[in-house]
Subunit: 320 residues, 2 copies
């Protein structure tokens, strides 16, 4: 199995280092955070004191390099990759994909890059919050663009499977539109709801029960993390916010004029049912021949219909 | 202890009948639902086959009458109360208060009425979903208007305490404004989010994780229940929706122009902290003399600062 070099040892990077090690891969990390470095060393993991040293080792050992730093540090990290391991097999775990795909083209053009995003996390952060089980059964998007090397894609998919997660093929643009709707917009609506509830005296807080607790839970996430992921997905998030503003405005209009919220509540209930049905219906099993000429289209079609890859057997991706 | 007559044996009414019985009160119910009637009888509770019979028994026994029917049926039920138990001690458990207070004035003006709203529930409904523990440690608003008889208020407060909940004094208007923000707006935002996520193909549903699951959970509630409570609180909900639309529009503008969501995310995090602080800070203990001339104002001030009543001792309400 190909070794793994993880740059950045926060919640996601630290969990990936643990999971790859637990799967039997040689793995090491590097981070600018002395807190995370010390904590990872205490837990028995190999951590290089300098990112360039870790990357030169990756070049020697032909390792997969995983960029697990916050979006604002991606450009600099990719430049360091280009200087120290220019031809490596490269992936990342950042929560937006189009800006990272573009940065990889610009700053690390010789690397064989596959963008990644594990749909897992907690509101905590840092090495100490991580675990080898964080990715268990999670969806993990792996990008497919025109220039993506499918051999590299297959290798990263194997790492994802080794971490207990299931690869979901998607273009960076489709990923960013989707996460704007199901991750970034929920954070904005939670922020709006938390402010509306708290800016009107103590009685609302005293009466708040399940619907408010659920609806505001992610407003407890560290603001800098929420800002980084939302602001980094600006174009897609604007579309999603406009969709929400349109629907909320329509609800307001209907309530004020006819008094009926039937359309709004009905559409919401149907949306909830669609999610519930997706989650309770077994995904059909299948196989995609990764050596076939149309494999790229077959993978993207799998992701578009909500499918995942659950295993790799020779040239075939097992889907379900 | 004064007996209790519960009209309507759904989730809330059925739980109240169980809780009042468990507290040692004589209690009976009546409902138009044959399903709930049969289920309650099987569980060993006394259920009259006709509402008027249950109410005449309430008159004979000088019981507290609890109206636990959906808002659209309140007027008719109150008329039946006025015909069969006109001078009774009367309360309700409907999720909006100003319309019920007004209906009580109009249809049951001789009854000593105290509006009530237990802040407890589940997304399930009907007798079978209820339990004697449903109200444990829940806030339970009891309205205080100019005409409210504080003797009657004290008796209903004792029933609430017997059910394991804690009375929160508030005017009907303050209650309705508060629940618009922490219950009805969350249901509308959940509906909007569930529709935005589901109306854009399968990939968003495949990637949905905690923030989306939390943010859409209450969109699974039966649409007719959501509509009844939201549409019944139209004026207050319009204010809350306008507040949310203004904040979401401001977020949209900031994201489009400067790219920063700092103000939105910061305000949301402070709101979340305020809720968290309210819930983790012990409420100061105190006593309110219910026989004092300013007791009405003292009770309303208690509710406005997020306090609750935790016991009754002679003329005193114990607060905390």
């Amino acid at each position: 199995m190909r070794p793994v070099c993880v740059i950045g040892l926060g919640l996601i990077g630290g969990s990936l280092l643990r999971a790859a090690s637990a799967a039997g891969r040689e793995a090491w990390g590097a981070t600018a955070s002395t807190v995370d470095t010390e904590a990872a060393k205490v837990d028995g993991f190999r951590v290089e004191s300098r990112v360039d040293v870790a990357l030169r080792l990756a070049r020697e050992r032909d390792a997969i390099v995983v960029v697990a730093v916050p979006l604002p540090e991606v450009d600099l990290t990719l430049s360091t990759v280009a200087r120290n391991a220019p031809d490596c097999l490269l992936t990342d775990v950042v929560s937006v994909k189009a800006p990272v795909v573009e940065a990889a083209r610009q700053f690390a053009g010789r690397a064989r890059f596959v963008g990644g995003h594990p749909m897992a996390g907690t509101s905590a952060s840092g090495w100490a919050a991580g675990s080898a089980d964080l990715f268990k059964d999670a969806a993990w998007v792996l990008t497919i663009e025109d220039e993506t090397d499918l051999g590299a894609w297959r290798e990263v998919a194997q790492l994802v499977l080794d971490c207990g997660a299931q690869p979901v093929p998607a273009s960076a643009a489709a990923h960013d539109d989707a996460v704007a709707r199901i991750s970034h917009l929920p954070h904005l609506l939670a922020a709006v709801l938390a402010a509306v509830g708290a800016d009107s005296g103590m009685l609302p807080l005293a009466l708040a029960a399940g619907s408010y607790t659920d609806g505001t839970r992610v407003a407890g996430t560290r603001p800098e993390l929420v800002r980084a992921m939302c602001e980094g997905n600006r174009a897609s998030l604007l579309d999603a916010v406009d969709d929400a503003l349109g629907r909320l405005g329509a609800a307001r209009g209907a309530l004020a004029s006819t008094g009926s919220l039937g359309a709004t509540v009905g559409a919401g209930h149907r949306g909830w049912q669609a999610l519930n049905e997706y989650r309770t219906t077994p995904r059909p099993a299948g196989r995609i021949d990764l050596s076939a000429p149309d494999s790229r289209e077959a993978l993207l079609a799998l992701g578009a219909r909500g499918g995942r890859i659950v295993g790799l057997e020779g040239d075939f991706a097992v889907t379900g």
